[in-house]
Amino acid sequence: MSYLNAAHNLARWLVRDEHIAQDMVQEAYLRALKYRDGFRGGDMRPWLLGIVRNTCYTWLQQNRRREDEVEFDEERDSGGGDAIIEQAEGNPETLTMRKQESLRVNQAINALPTRFREVLILRELEDLSYEDIAVVAAIPVGTVMSRLSRARALLRVALQHPEGGKAV
């Protein structure tokens, strides 16, 4: 198995831009090779994702994107996922509905502050354990759990009140 999909998925959700996400992954892979002696065995995935995450954070800091400064981007959030098209089973009405739903969820997650967005993505989309998330985000396991709980609460609010989704 390889870790490129997970690396790209995390980078893409963190920087919220396809081209930058690809640059981040490439840079992270170079760093991983350079500092591969820092890998102490066990599962390589959290170690590698940690490097991807740090690379993205460095970029985010340098580019001083304000957390709440996420403007509407139809292309980014429109949810062209194959899974949705498959689930719709060729029914155009279902497809439209599913795309709208996907747009809504993508937007709500993208509007979350980075530190909440990252734990949510790692847990729900990458299926990482609390321990692995703690390694990736370099925080204690207790913080992972509290952040995850806060992230879920924020997401619920955003999904229920799409207009006022910035209630942080």
Binding site: S2, N5, Q26, R36, F39, E124
Partner: protein, 223 residues
Amino acid sequence: MEKDTELGDLIRRDADYHAAPQALRDRIDLMLAPTPAPQVAGNAGRWLEWRRWWGMGAAFALGILLSVAITTLHGLPGTQDRMVEQVVDSHVRSLMVAHLSDVASSDQHTVKPWLSHQLDFSPPVADLTAEGFPLVGGRLDYIDGHPVAALIYQRRLHTINVFVWPLRGASASAPESAARRGFNVRSWSKDGMQYWAVSDLQSAELERFGQLLAGQPGSQRLP
């Protein structure tokens, strides 16, 4: 959506999973391409690209290797140590890139001809599914500047890379184990072929795998 599991289901169903696009796979593949010897490099551009990316990395790795060698050697001679480093590097590369296998097949009768076609030797490909080590595929790789066969086996969630090439001048050697950067390495030779297995499997399991592959249960000693 009251429960966390329901919210999780909603996210998995409706949020995009951004799998790596092919363009990124190609970029990373190029960046991490193994080190072909210049005379066998079919694609000079790829080689040059590799050198551009890796000039510094190689120097760095060599520095690390030299400084760490003295403290981490487990009685292996210098060339062996260099080989351990190389097979671990190849293993790590194969895990990091999308490109684990050139030919993905659990059928030894598919993998073997494919590899034979790419190489000037025919690597033995064994089916160890019954023993709990299913074959996943094969790949062309480069170790020590020579093209080698890489066989990929799986043990539960662990990947095992087995590098195989004909013994070059050197005489057959007894099985040896080593550890490097959290990976275990096992080497042996048999019937004119040199084998290097590397994995994050624990040492005892990798040893057992090596014995199964060598077709000799129990301890294996070659002259």
